[in-house]
Symmetry: C2
Subunit: 371 residues, 2 copies
């Protein structure tokens, strides 16, 4: 992946784990929610990929900021922000919810934790959902508090994550379903842990409340992981793309609606609930989306990443999409990427070409996701 | 300034000028509004400082995104977001406006351009004001469109900026008052130019509408600047601090109110206008702010920047603030920084100590701003 220098300042906030990441030799970051996200340690992306698929890693994902909504109108405010029907949320079950604006454009795609009837956390991707929520609350005169609590997720990912977490927190944690969460004793506190994370290798996210405990939590996980070949890690570009995990700002933006993103099952299109963008979304559903997120495989030299989207073309040269994330897959032996693909071209198996940054054309094929 | 690697992705958006910045050897960025801000070229911060004070520079500040508010209720929406009285804005006059939330916490500090009675641009610092505005508009049912237009500011800064801009746009541009703006012919289009910018050395910002013209505009400015020793530049940390120019996310955050930031003259505290946070702001005004932004000068080794705020202590050891931006001033021969300073300690001349990242104490003094 292309990398250049990042100048540090207070505005690019550190997490409670940044010191540990530095001690482990972090050599590259991204910036998410005005906060550092480690993106590279000593290992290459490919070494890191194989390790993540076989062992266990600890990830500083403190940048997954929580937007905490509390108060008598909290449920109403959260529902206004998403087309997903929130009327019956099972206890202890996190929900992936698309947030949209008045044009049904994607605002964010957080995981929602309903902690109490009047207390919610939205664990957000890279946009200031807090300001969106504050604006709506003010405009509607809702009786809520919208805050960024002192909560910083730490992820434990990989096939050995369950072994590690069971050692620390007992068998109860192994009973958590996918996206399920519960509270567990830790460092003299009770903390929320969910079976979730930004990989397809299994794992957990600890929603640490109390940033001052960050170093102690990292060390706790690290010590328990020593026998399991634990390493510091981060969302891995190869694994993420192979797994079809989209990234807000990369695969989709406010220019995309949730139907294009494959979120139809999270969109309530009947009567019964009120949310921003409902009319626009109904219209899009009626017409059918004009594009849809798909995988693409393509040949040529091994890509190390995509900083500038690569045009995707039909056989007649028409531009039908752009690869927004892409990299060489050592397992599949080709480049893999994700692209919105125009209607009429999105069937898996469709032959396409991808235009390289230097103008060269590479033959490729539309694929379903995950690869 | 501490620097490490930045991993590139589409989410960290390029500007229309990024290619030119790369061609000029940019070697470090910050990220503002999910977009690249060049922060370092070949010259050291100090070399760049002296050059900026004597010559002219072209800055890629495309990251100063515009939030465009249009429609019959546009003026109402913009007024709701700020305590500054917007009832009488002189034509062609940009206004610096603090934006606050319901607790009177700072949301952003944009420059507002009123382009027409029902068309406004907010040229923002680093937070998603667009989402705040959309939320309020939805909640209140306002008849507005809130969008991010295809507008990317390019700054021309330094004492020779007026010579350069006059050559390109004629004498009319020299008549612009501070923060005044007008429209000028450029590359076959009409474009907004303001006398403004994030330095105290004078200069202009071209609000280029049409990102595809970015390269051509950069080249136009560059050619006109050759005889004036033009260089690619960026907000300079030494010059910014000496000039007392605060930065949202650094000197102040949502935890600070506008009175602490020295924005009292932008706060309408009488009856007559309605805005978010008015009650909270009135209460703060009544009690008086608990801290205020000030300068601090301090000794010891030359600082190259501040990534983690440095505690500021009174003579009895009480923590009374923290240096959020700081650097060695070659002109003043000491370190200079900015800090919120607690009430009772903020008089210029008050002796303080600054605690270094390694725990060492440095003697210093509270100063007025600018230095």
């Amino acid at each position: 992946m292309a990398q250049t220098g990042l100048n540090m300042s207070r505005r690019i906030r550190r997490t409670p784990y940044t010191g540990r990441a530095e001690a482990h030799g972090v050599r590259g970051y991204s910036v998410v929610n005005h906060m550092l996200l480690p993106k590279a340690y000593a290992a290459s992306v490919e070494e890191d990929y194989w390790h993540l698929r076989e062992h266990v890693q600890v990830w500083d994902v403190g940048c997954q900021r929580q937007v905490q909504v509390t108060g008598p109108d909290a449920a109403e405010l959260v529902q206004l922000m998403t087309p997903r029907d929130l009327r019956r949320i099972p206890d202890g079950q996190g929900l992936y919810i698309p947030l949209i604006d008045e044009h049904a454009g994607m605002i964010n795609d957080p995981v929602l934790l309903k902690l109490e009837d009047d207390k919610f956390w939205l664990s957000i991707a890279d946009s200031d959902v807090l300001l969106f929520a504050k604006g709506i609350a003010f405009g509607r005169g809702l009786d809520v508090l919208v805050e960024e609590p002192d909560v910083f997720p730490l992820a434990v990912q990989g096939p050995k994550a369950e072994t590690l977490m069971t050692e620390l927190f007992g068998d109860e944690i192994a009973a958590l379903p996918y996206f399920g969460f519960g509270t567990f004793d830790m460092l003299g506190t009770r903390q929320v842990i969910a079976r979730s994370g930004y990989s397809k290798q299994g794992g957990f996210e600890i929603y640490l409340e109390g940033g001052h405990l960050g170093g102690a939590l990292w060390d706790l996980v690290w010590e328990a992981g020593r026998a399991l070949d634990i390493r510091p890690g981060c969302p891995n570009l190869i694994e993420r793309i192979e797994g079809g995990l989209m990234s807000y700002g990369n695969e989709f933006t406010r220019a995309n609606n949730p139907l294009e993103c494959g979120f139809k099952r999270y969109c309530h299109l009947e009567d019964g609930i009120d949310y921003i963008g409902r009319e626009a979304l109904l219209k899009i559903a009626e017409d059918g989306p004009e594009r849809h997120i798909m995988g693409v495989t393509f040949g040529g030299e091994a890509l190390s990443g995509v900083a500038v989207p690569l045009a995707v073309m039909a056989e007649d040269g028409t531009v039908i999409g752009e690869v927004t994330s892409g990299i060489w897959s050592p397992r599949l032996g080709c480049n893999v990427g994700m692209s919105m693909i125009a209607r009429g071209h999105w069937d898996a198996g469709t032959r396409i070409t991808v235009r390289d940054t230097d103008g060269k054309l590479r033959d490729g094929t539309v694929s379903s996701l995950p690869f």
